[in-house]
Amino acid sequence: MLGVVRQKMLGQSLPKIRPAVSVLRSYSSAAKQMTVRDALNSALDEEMSADPKVFLMGEEVGEYQGAYKISKGLLEKYGPERVRDTPITEAGFAGIGVGAAYYGLKPVVEFMTFNFSMQAIDHIINSAAKSNYMSAGQMSVPIVFRGPNGAAAGVGAQHSQCYAAWYASCPGLKVLTPYSSEDARGLLKAAIRDPDPVVFLENELLYGESFPVSDEVLDSSFCLPIGKAKIERVGRDVTITAFSRMVGHALKAAEILEKDGIDAEVINLRSIRPLDRSTINASVRKTNRLVTVEEGFPQHGVGAEICASVVEESFAYLDAPVERIAGADIPMPYAANLERLAVPQVEDIVRAAKRACYRSVPLAAAA
């Protein structure tokens, strides 16, 4: 009986270890709530206010108030010199942005979605990422390319791709993937202040989501370090890495796993390049099991790099093969039931985590 009581108390003490985020959610009066949209808007506003070299350029960012309203009010506040509506010509305006950055300005170039960045990818890679190296440090490129990335809802094959793996494979770029409003504010401010080209991958489905933000986050000097992941939920049994919208899925999976006695540690990567290998490896050395989660295509994806890193640096600590959850290896279908099968769901993460936890013997050689 005492044992039962002790177990019950353990069960009750678990919520204390839960991330500050979800505790704050239930006490909404204690912290301010802010949508990711407002977080991005306020970050842009503050950085533009602080530094006259910062300007915004992209389709519908000015008079239309932003295709997703991220730049709402900025044209009225800063004028058409600093908030520039462009024609639908990504190769042209991305190149113009990089040229302005060569000269010392700090452009924030918006792609309406990162699918359209493919029209400009030569400038992002060849003109921006490699310039500081090729010029031996003379030409740094303090530019930010930002916009929604990954799947939305029913937008089909040409509008749903996640570009994290592609951009993050390129030296010279920094690639950031905010999840919460705190991430959005801190990382965008850091990106704008950074002297190197930053690819800032937002997510359309997160724009309307609210998160609690502390006074520190709301302060205009708030900034998050680039290249550091955040442990959203501390755990002991399995490490789950995720970024952007998938962090929310991973946290929900962790709540479900907890009921089955699995205590998951959820890492919000925040930065895909540089990848915070030390945080990831430290976590795996603690839990001995790893599930990587991403929206993008699996082959040569972010999870593949994380798995390689862990195998290289923490091989002896792994008690199970690394599990990868990713988008399906197909172009995104339109039909709702097919789309659901093509994007990771919470139950996929739960299933993979359970496999990682219950496997103590290697799989018999599969066919």
Binding site: Y64, I88, G154, G156, A157, A335, L338
Partner: protein, 434 residues
């Protein structure tokens, strides 16, 4: 008879009709339609019912002759377009166009069907039966219909994402449209494409493309292949004023001009690229001139007969002399997509003004009525029929099942080589690509 006719011609004042209306040319073809003469009473009652032309001095010949059943009269009628063509680096085609009752009524029906289809799609989107992006074409029907009338199915058409009506004009069915929009098996892309990705290869309709401007080089590629295969056919590559500034357009046009490809670049200028008016996006919004060394024609895109005339002209030109640009001056009543109200960057007065003055369906209706090719009631009946067709197709589409899960892995490749593909959980869902 001649005195009555001349009296009628003298009394026919252009300003009885709205400015955009056709001015009738002063001659009809020489074949009087053979028919029994109706009684004078019947003729007089038809005077009363066709009140649109107003004037009592209608030619007696048309009152006496029995109108043929409305869909079969192919007696040529000659008309002038209300606006002449403006040409760049070429001789503009004549304003005089040949048509017939049959053709005009077909135009009316086809455009009315497209209009109803797009409006129904609006409702379905708001009811959340259509997801994602949905770009509607209402207002622009004359371009799709007029173009199709000038082409054969051997000619290719490619367009961007505002493709529902172009698909219909190429022979698609309402069920294929609504089922695709709702993500069902009977859709033209079996539910896997969505609104922006309609295709009908057996009619040489190549889609259906989501990335602004991409369809233009693709269209030039179709033209290349047609010339390579000696098919004596052409490609019409449609794009909007928003896409007109894309660099890839000029790259493809340059190559097409160098290689004399039978490519016709058609700018559907509805004056707004999403929320940006043409003058804010283009240093030169004279899109028909932007081909520079390539000739161009500016066309009233709300006038289906002018569209047909221009496309016929362009096809002939492209087969002999290489690429040509057509700029269709048109208008969309809806916003850019269903996520765009369409009223933050233009006034409601502008929208209603175009609807009143230039609507392509109303033009044809007035033309049909003033030529006594059908009564108002007959046209209204066509609209009712068309409405019912649309409603029936929607009902059918709603009953249609969603795609099977196995469709996730079909058509990734044309030749799958037996490789494996994976679902979100690669250990749970995997398939061998056929």
């Amino acid at each position: 008879m001649p005195t009555l006719l001349s009296a009628w011609f003298n009394s026919h004042q252009p300003n009885l009709h709205p400015p955009s209306f056709y001015s009738l040319s002063l001659f009809r073809s020489s074949h009087p339609p053979p028919s029994p003469n109706p009684t004078l009473a019947m003729a007089l009652s038809r005077f009363a019912s066709s009140s649109r032309s107003g004037s009592l001095l209608k030619p007696l010949s048309s009152a006496i002759s029995l109108r043929r059943p409305i869909s079969t009269d192919t007696t040529p009628i000659t008309l002038e377009t209300s606006v002449p063509f403006t040409a760049h680096q070429c001789e503009a085609p004549s304003r005089t166009v040949q048509t017939s009752a049959n053709e005009l009524l077909t135009f009316f029906r086809d455009m009315a069907l497209m209009r109803r289809m797009e409006i129904a799609a609006d409702s379905l989107y708001k009811a959340k039966l259509i997801r994602g992006f949905c770009h509607l074409y209402d207002g622009q029907e004359a371009v799709a219909v007029g173009m199709e009338a000038a082409l054969t199915k051997k000619d290719c058409i490619i367009t961007a994402y505002r493709d529902h009506c172009t698909f219909m004009a190429r022979g698609g069915t309402l069920l294929e449209v609504f089922a695709e929009l709702m993500g069902r098996q009977a859709g033209c892309s079996r539910g896997k494409g969505g609104s922006m990705h309609f295709y009908k290869k057996d009619s040489n309709f190549y889609g259906g493309h989501g990335i602004v401007g991409a369809q233009v080089p693709l269209g030039c590629g179709l033209a290349f292949a047609q010339k390579y295969s000696k098919d004596e056919a052409v490609t019409f590559a449609l794009y909007g004023d928003g896409a007109a500034n894309q660099g890839q357009l000029f790259e493809a046009l340059n190559i097409s001009a160098l290689w004399d490809l039978p490519a016709i670049l058609v700018c559907e200028n509805n004056h707004y690229g999403m929320g940006t008016a043409e003058w804010r996006a283009a240093k030169s919004p004279a899109y028909y001139k932007r081909g520079d060394y390539s000739p161009g024609l500016k066309v009233d895109g709300m006038d289906v007969l002018a569209v047909k005339q221009a496309c016929t002209f362009a096809k002939e030109h492209a087969l002999k002399n290489g690429p040509i640009i057509l700029e269709m001056d048109t208008y969309r009543y809806h916003g850019h997509s269903m996520s765009d109200p369409g009223s933050t960057y233009r006034t409601r007065d502008e929208i209603t003004g175009v609807r009143q003055e230039r609507d392509p369906i109303e033009r044809i209706r007035k033309l049909i009525l003033s030529h006594d090719l059908a009564t108002e009631k007959e046209l209204k009946d066509i609209e009712k029929e068309v409405r019912k067709e649309v409603d029936d197709a929607i009902a059918q589409a709603k009953e249609n099942p969603v795609p099977e899960s196995s469709e996730l892995f079909t058509n990734v490749y044309a030749k799958g080589l037996g490789v494996e593909s994976f679902g979100a959980d690669r250990k749970e869902v995997r398939a061998t690509l056929p």
